[in-house]
């Protein structure tokens, strides 16, 4: 279930380019942690390094430690496939598998690694995941239709259902609402608030009101200039960040003086 993630001295590279430098942070379980900052500051890169999705890009690598529940995620004997099974991810653009039905999309993760499930068991998983993602009532009569036929907000909730169906410990969300309208955004935010009882949630967002609304802790990333590595400038409880931040740069950013 929900687990704490300790990050220490994390440097993230694209080839020789140092994109994010020296991140130290402890992400609390059963809470929502928001990452904010201007474009290109490395917050998405940092998020992707938490479930080893960063290294999918050719030449991309990481130095430092990410420890979840005592296990070093970048340890020599850690399989990235295992890491990703325990740390789910929701992407900026809804990406249900277009060739699969709604049902198959939700169960896709559970069918991996040669696992076999009885029909009743997988029906149960699908229903629970879709209920968990507040989508069940909208799609229960058309589970065999393609997931790509849903609206953008529904597709994103389908992706959340897919991510929680495998029972991960942590849920990473990379700007999950940036392609959605305000109503769908509200639905996803309500959902996040429900899900934080069961998962550790980390969300990257460009929407500062969103960070203020949903998160318990907020990290502010910034960079000194183009070509410079991004850094975690400040990490504090959300109320403190938005009312009385420690750093001048944080205050400038959240008050709209730049970015």
């Amino acid at each position: 279930m929900a687990k704490r993630i300790e990050v220490s001295d994390l440097n993230i590279y694209y080839g020789d380019f140092l994109a994010v430098e020296g991140v130290n942070v402890s992400i609390e379980p059963r809470s929502i942690t928001a990452l904010i900052g201007p474009s290109g500051c490395g917050k998405s890169t940092f998020l992707r390094s938490l479930n080893r999705m960063h290294e999918v890009i050719p030449g991309a690598r990481v130095e430092g430690k990410v420890v979840m529940d005592g296990q070093d995620l970048y340890g020599a004997d850690t399989d990235p496939v295992d890491v990703r099974r325990h740390i789910g991810m929701v992407f900026q653009r809804p990406n249900p598998f277009p060739t699969m039905s709604i049902y198959d999309n939700v169960i896709a993760g559970n069918r991996l690694n040669g696992k076999k499930m009885k029909k009743a068991e997988s029906d149960d998983v699908v229903e629970r995941a879709l209920r968990g993602a507040n989508l069940w009532n909208e799609v229960k009569d058309r589970l065999d239709r393609p997931g790509s036929g849903l609206s953008g907000g529904q597709q994103q909730r389908l992706c959340i259902a897919r991510a929680i169906a495998v029972g991960p410990d942590v849920l990473l969300m990379d700007e999950p609402c940036s392609a959605l309208d305000p109503i769908s955004t509200l639905a996803i935010e309500d959902l996040m608030t429900e899900l934080k009882d069961r998962f550790t949630i980390v969300i990257v967002t460009h929407n500062m009101q969103q960070a203020a609304r949903v998160s318990e802790s907020t990290g502010f990333f910034n960079l000194n200039g183009v070509g410079q590595p991004g850094r975690l400038i400040e990490f504090n409880p959300t109320e403190k960040i938005f009312s009385n931040p420690d750093q001048k740069a944080t205050e400038d950013y959240i008050s709209g003086r730049f970015g």
């Binding site: 099974r85 990406n95 598998f97 896709a108 495998v166």
Partner: protein
């Protein structure tokens, strides 16, 4: 009067403004489309017109003396047998090569391998024919013998094994090598375009690389692979020179792949007989060509049907 009225009748906003370049492009595109149809119709009309005498001729006048269908049926069988065998061998191989090049090989090796495969398409078919005759056929003789001994219970390998290796099996394998670059080039192209969005979705769920390929790459590339396979099948069906050189055809209809008596294929039969054919013989050969034309058309329509069948799930919506 008219001059003053014209602007009110046709306000400028309703007039379709078309630039010269647009008109030129639309015209040439339309012209190309019509041109293709005219050529196709011309070929079909020629084939049908020339085939009619053979279609209406009494059975004993047709070469072979068993009527037109008796003449063409073994050729159709030979054509399909060789082409399907080639397709069955080449498609999995081509998909494997394409996946290796796009998702497994280090980038430097991948580029080199890609060029090497493409180079296969640059070899003239007559060279493939001689290669099949001089190298592949003798090399396959031991396999023919083995297949006759161990797989003889299958009609395909009933034997007796050919001692020269100039069999339908060898032809199928030569054709497989010939169509390999077509299929793998198209498969490579569609696989490399599988959206990163869906590949990352699969990986983030904890898919291994192979599972990611099964979930996000193969479904996306399926219609492309089918299209490539049909192009390859089209080439294999119509291949003339390589088949004419390798195969010692002319026997009746048989499914036996490894004996020395094989049915010929339509295209190679036309190539071999046409120079000496006269009168009704020519019409008969053209009628067989018409059959090949219809088969190829049917294959393409089948491919299109397969591609469209699950259009809902293709990701195009």
């Amino acid at each position: 009067m008219t001059a003053t009225k014209t602007p009110t009748e046709r306000p400028p906003a309703q007039r379709v403004v078309r630039r010269a370049g647009d008109r030129l492009f639309a015209g040439s595109a339309k012209g190309s489309g019509i041109f293709i149809l005219v050529v196709l119709a011309g070929v079909a009309a020629f084939l049908i017109g020339e085939a009619i005498p053979a279609l209406t001729a009494p059975a004993e006048d047709v070469p072979g003396g068993e009527g037109l269908s008796g003449y063409i049926a073994p050729l159709v069988l030979g054509t399909l047998l060789g082409a399907v065998l080639a397709l069955l061998v080449a498609t999995p191989l081509a998909v494997g090569i394409a996946l290796f090049v796009t998702y497994y090989a280090p980038r430097r090796i991948a580029a080199g391998l890609g060029y090497a495969i493409d180079l296969l398409a640059a070899i003239p078919s007559v060279v493939y024919g001689f290669w099949g005759l001089a190298v592949l056929a003798p090399a396959l003789v031991p396999f023919h013998v083995w297949a006759a001994d161990h797989l003889g219970w299958l009609p395909l390998f009933a034997g007796p094994a050919s001692t020269s290796g100039r069999t339908m099996l060898t032809v199928g394998l030569v054709l497989a090598v010939m169509i390999l670059p077509i299929i793998s080039a198209i498969a490579r192209e569609v696989f490399s375009q599988a959206p990163a969005l869906h590949r990352e979705a699969a990986l983030a769920l904890g898919a291994t690389r192979w599972e990611m390929i099964k979930m996000a790459v193969l479904p996306y590339g399926k219609s492309g692979v089918i299209a490539g396979a049909m192009l390859g099948l089209g080439r294999a069906l119509g291949e003339t020179m390589a088949v004419a050189i390798v195969l010692s055809g002319g026997a009746g209809a048989t499914l036996n792949l490894i004996s020395s008596s094989n049915p010929s294929t339509i295209a190679s039969n036309i190539a071999l007989r046409f120079p000496e054919a006269t009168g009704l013989g020519i019409n008969t050969l053209i009628a067989s060509g018409l059959v090949l034309f219809v088969i190829t058309l049917a294959v393409n329509m089948l491919a299109r049907w397969i591609v469209n069948r699950r259009a809902d799930f293709s990701g195009a919506n």
